[in-house]
């Protein structure tokens, strides 16, 4: 047990913790301003923003202060350390550092994307001066739009904290970014002709504490103070990164990683980061459609419920219910799968349950890469992009096994269709990037009934008998279980457009349940029924989620 004194307040840290003074001060509720230090990156102590006064408490109770100021990021928290962050000397050092940082800064906050979430703004306000004493010309350096496909460098705004350089060296291992020139002419740059296009490149925008590195995707699209942030989970692979969805007026503007030591750490990949555009898409399917001899007819949701009930009843009466298959996408939440399976089991108990297509991008992509692009050994990996491109394959499998008796894969389903063992297909697709291939479509043509839920109409249009709009991950309210068995629940960030009923509401109504769909209730119901999912018996799985079982 180590006891430190921070601004006169004692805090305790346990022996196994290795903290620096910034982290120790956070425990005491004291903010030590810093730029270059990032918990996931190596310590360089170069921004000199976190300068504090440090002393030592002797066993007799007297305090001996060091004559120098020290960077808090570089100083380990040890028993008896006395930290003063607000003494005149420390304040003067912090204010001086801010004055230096702003010397050549263009102060173009009104057109800067970072404004509102900029540490230069925040710390200037809290620790800096209101005016500059520079009478000379500022350095002006060209913006670098070529630095990456997704990122742009506003060179003037850079404070040379080198977080981005360290990120590409230590986390992605691709080392595209470097510092060129010397002194106040130093700039971040790429090696000629080698832009920063690695699959984690978007993270440098997040870790940039100022507006120097911006995302081209988000550039000039929204002032950040209008954005509302919602905790969510990235659906693009089985890592299930914790994310923030930032939206305004029901439009999603960007995704950012949310720290989760059990899933993604501090970062997320670009595939996930920029994989939200389907949410805002104008091409989305907005109304339930039914095929009639005269063409597509849009239905009210209540009519749709009636249609589905009637159809299933007809099938059952015709003794065809063993030829019904329900396809469940691995992009569906546990709750959606649960309600859909319960409904189908209720009306046609012999229906086959099929695991929807799981897109596979090959091997897991491990970072940091070595000097020749080779992946690190698995125990050294700092970030993993899974080859399995679905957020909930594990959770889906657990429920399918529960509803059993046997579960079928998409390929097996196609086999069954070609053997005419399946004639009625209810396909819940929620994967915005998957669509059936032309040969698969050809097979599906033989079906007597094809009911499709999807985000987009795609090539279902000339085939399906009912086409029902599906919701995207940003609109869902439920739980995903990632490849490591980590269950994370999330709530909708935006409401579905044009009154689309989420799948949960539709099946809730189909089941004839009273009231409204309530995710925690359904989750508790699942936990009570499925032994493997017992840990889900809670209203909220916590900020970092709950591990239901370790990875196989």
């Amino acid at each position: 047990m180590a006891i430190l004194t921070i601004n006169g307040r004692d805090i305790e840290i346990s022996d196994h913790e290795v903290l620096n003074l910034i982290q120790a001060a956070q425990r005491a509720g004291v903010e030590i301003p810093h730029y270059c230090w990032h918990p996931a990156l190596s310590v360089v102590a170069s921004c000199r923003m976190c300068l504090v006064e440090v002393g030592e408490k002797k066993p007799d109770g007297s305090v001996v202060m060091q004559p120098r100021v020290v960077p808090a990021c570089q100083t380990p928290a040890k028993h008896g350390t006395v930290v003063v962050t607000n003494s005149p000397k420390a304040r003067a050092a912090q204010a001086a550092t801010l004055e230096y940082l702003l010397l050549n800064h263009p102060l173009d906050c009104p057109v800067c994307d970072q404004a509102g979430e900029c540490l230069l703004q925040d710390f200037s306000y809290k620790y800096g001066h209101a005016r500059s004493r520079l009478r000379d010309e500022k350095l002006i350096r060209p913006d670098k739009y070529h630095i990456g496909e997704q990122i742009v460098l506003f060179t003037d705004r850079c404070i040379m904290c080198t977080r981005c350089v360290r990120f590409t060296r230590e986390i992605s291992g691709t080392a595209e970014l470097q510092v060129i020139h010397r002194g106040d002419h130093a700039e971040i740059d790429i090696f000629p002709g080698k832009p920063c296009n690695n699959k984690l490149a978007g993270n440098v925008v997040d870790i940039c504490p100022v507006g120097a590195l911006c995302s081209k995707d988000f550039l000039y699209r929204q002032r950040v103070w209008f954005l509302k942030s919602h905790k969510s989970v990235c659906p693009h692979c089985a890592t299930g990164c914790s994310i923030w969805i930032d939206q305004n007026k029901n439009i999603v503007y960007r995704l950012r990683p949310r720290y989760n030591p059990q899933a993604n750490g501090h970062f997320m990949c670009d595939e996930g980061r920029f994989g939200y555009h389907h949410v805002n898409s104008k091409e989305r399917l907005l109304q339930p459609l039914a095929r009639r001899p005269e063409g597509w007819m849009s239905l009210a949701w209540s009519e749709l419920i009636q249609d589905i009930r009637d159809q299933l009843q007809k099938i059952t009466q015709a003794q065809e219910d063993h030829r019904v298959a329900l396809v469940l996408s691995p992009w569906l939440t546990l709750e959606e799968v649960w309600l859909a399976c319960r409904f189908v089991r209720q009306v046609c108990p012999r229906a086959k349950l099929v695991r929807g297509p799981v897109r596979d991008a090959g091997n897991d992509d491990l970072y940091p890469k070595g000097p020749h692009g080779e992946p690190p050994p698995p125990d050294k990996a700092k970030f993993i992009i899974r080859g399995e491109k679905a957020p909930n394959r594990r959770g889906l499998d657990i429920l399918l096994v529960y509803f059993g008796p046997s579960i079928f894969s998409w390929a097996q389903l196609l086999e069954l269709i070609s053997q005419h063992a399946v004639g009625h297909l209810y396909c819940l697709n929620a994967d915005p990037l998957w669509e059936p291939s032309p040969s698969e479509l050809e097979l599906l043509r033989s079906l007597k009934t094809l009911v499709v839920w999807d985000v987009f109409p795609r090539n279902w249009q000339d085939l399906a008998h009912w086409l029902i709009p599906a919701t995207t991950f940003a609109e869902k309210n439920g739980t995903y279980i990632n490849a490591n068995g980590l269950a994370q629940n999330f709530r909708p960030a935006v409401i579905p457009p044009e009154g689309i009923w989420p799948e949960t509401r539709l099946f809730w109504e189909l089941l004839g349940q009273p009231g409204l769909y309530h995710a925690p209730t359904v989750r508790r119901e699942i936990a009570a029924s499925v032994s493997a999912l017992r840990p889900l018996d809670t209203d909220d799985l916590g900020e970092y989620g709950t591990i239901i079982q370790p990875a196989a």
């Binding site: 310590v43 360089v44 102590a45 170069s46 921004c47 000199r48 923003m49 300068l51 060091q66 004559p67 120098r68 100021v69 020290v70 960077p71 570089q74 000397k89 003067a92 050092a93 001086a96 550092t97 230096y100 940082l101 010397l103 050549n104 005016r131 500059s132 004493r133 520079l134 009478r135 000379d136 010309e137 404070i159 040379m160 510092v179 020139h181 010397r182 002194g183 106040d184 002419h185 130093a186």
Partner: protein, 444 residues
């Protein structure tokens, strides 16, 4: 007692760059003597001698060697800092070009003392002649069994020396900057701890010593620590932290003197004696206005402070950063301090590596302000801003990783405090000339 030069003793001896001649002059006796001792005994001798590093900081060499972890499995590295870039300093060049084997002998002895099996000589790129001379000398040593395996028959003592040329940056003379540069990286000084003696080059214990320090080691082994302590100035009894200034020192005298050059003298000679007795006085019959006591980064001494002894403490007492490299630059009374300080600031702004904010921005800001003052567009409060920057970036301890900002700050601080009237006159007169009527317009 007349002082007898040892470091420059062989300078000018024909063929001294060759091993044969060097040995005929008594060379490599120090190494043979050292190999009769254990490494610990060599370290103890250097500790006893009170030798302090000649590269600028004046840290006791023996103490530094003692920081290497005991029983380390190795490898342990020795880096010879020959990146002599401090303005006004050229003693390492004279040693390496004039008597390379003396330097190499000191290097081999030191490597033996710290159990290093590899030594790197980090040579300033501009020293092409020294490079060729050292390269030849090292080859000679390999040919005659002074380098390689089981040196001079001493079983288990292996040493390879690599000669590495820098690419021309002041910061590579900083010991951790040098290490980074040797590793092939940008020479950004490292944060300490860990100190290089614990984790330096390639994460292994590393000692970085100046060329002149290593040359001194050879003579300490040859003549004993008592001889070394008989030269120089003993510690100040009133200052418990003073470790004394022992031994001979190479003073580089340049600037406005009649006979510039490198002089080997006992530590503690006064600046006046150096200039008048050895430098032949100020040129053109002029007077001293100021001197730089030990390389540009140490700051300035005025004409009234010429009796300051040039030992490790003298310049500090006179308000400078320290003795530095003992490179004395003399400025005559016709020199404009504005020009001198502008040049100094420009140098440090150019050489700042750009890692720490205060140094990166502060040095460049000071250079901008001085350029403006020099153009005649200065304001009187610019001087206060300059002093504040100097205090903030270097003089207040701990604001930057390495000492470059200190070096940039002290010339500014000493010039402005000691020659403030000249700066104020210059600003007043030039402003009056440029803007005869208007009040100064504040830019904010």
């Amino acid at each position: 007692m007349e002082f007898e030069p040892v470091l420059l003793r062989h300078l000018g001896v024909p063929g001294i760059q060759h091993l044969e001649t060097y040995q005929a002059q008594g060379g490599y006796q120090g190494l043979r003597r050292a190999l009769e001792l254990t490494p610990e005994q060599v370290v103890q001798l250097v500790k006893d001698s009170g030798l302090r590093g000649r590269g600028g900081a004046g840290f006791p060499t023996g103490v530094k060697w003692g920081f290497i972890p005991k029983n380390h499995p190795g490898p342990i590295y020795l880096c010879v800092n020959a990146d002599e870039s401090e303005p006004g300093t050229f003693n390492n060049r004279i040693l390496m070009e004039g008597d390379p084997h003396q330097v190499l002998e000191g290097t081999i002895i030191s490597a033996y003392a710290i159990r290093a099996s590899v030594a790197y000589i980090y040579l300033r790129y501009e020293y092409g002649r020294a490079y060729r001379i050292l390269q030849r000398a090292i080859q000679e040593l390999y040919d005659h069994g002074f380098l390689g395996r089981n040196i001079l028959g001493k079983a288990g003592f292996n040493l390879d020396i690599y000669l590495h040329r820098g690419a021309g940056a002041y910061i590579c003379g900083e010991e951790t900057g040098l290490i980074e540069s040797l590793e092939g990286k940008r020479a950004w000084p490292r944060i300490k701890p860990p100190f290089p003696a614990v984790q330096g080059l390639f994460h292994k214990p590393t000692i970085v010593n100046n060329v002149e320090t290593l040359a001194c080691v050879k003579h300490i082994i040859e003549r004993g620590p008592d001889w070394f302590r008989s030269i120089g100035i003993p510690p100040d009894p009133n200052n418990p932290r003073d470790m004394g200034s022992f031994g001979p020192k190479l003073y580089c005298l340049s600037g406005h003197v009649n006979r510039p050059g490198c002089f080997e003298l006992p530590l503690g000679i006064t600046a006046r004696e150096l200039i008048e007795k050895y430098g032949g006085g100020v040129w053109k019959g002029r007077q001293v206005k100021a001197i730089i006591p030990g390389g540009l980064s140490m700051g300035f001494l005025t004409a009234q402070e010429l009796d300051t002894p040039l030992d490790f403490n003298g310049p500090i007492k006179a308000g400078c950063l320290g003795l530095g490299t003992a490179a004395v630059i003399v400025l005559d009374d016709q020199t404009s301090m504005i020009d001198v300080l502008y040049n100094s600031c420009r140098f440090f702004a150019h050489e700042s590596c750009g890692q720490c904010t205060p140094c990166r921005e502060g040095t460049a800001w000071m250079a901008k302000i001085l350029a403006r003052i020099r153009r005649g567009e200065g304001y009187l409060d610019d001087l206060d801003i300059l002093l504040e920057i100097a205090n903030g970036i270097g003089i207040m301890p701990g604001t930057t990783i390495c000492g470059l900002a200190d070096g940039a700050a002290w010339p500014v601080k000493t010039a402005i405090t000691k020659f403030r009237a000249e700066f104020e006159d210059y600003i007043r007169n030039s402003r009056a000339r440029l803007h005869p009527v208007r009040e100064p317009i504040r830019s904010h």
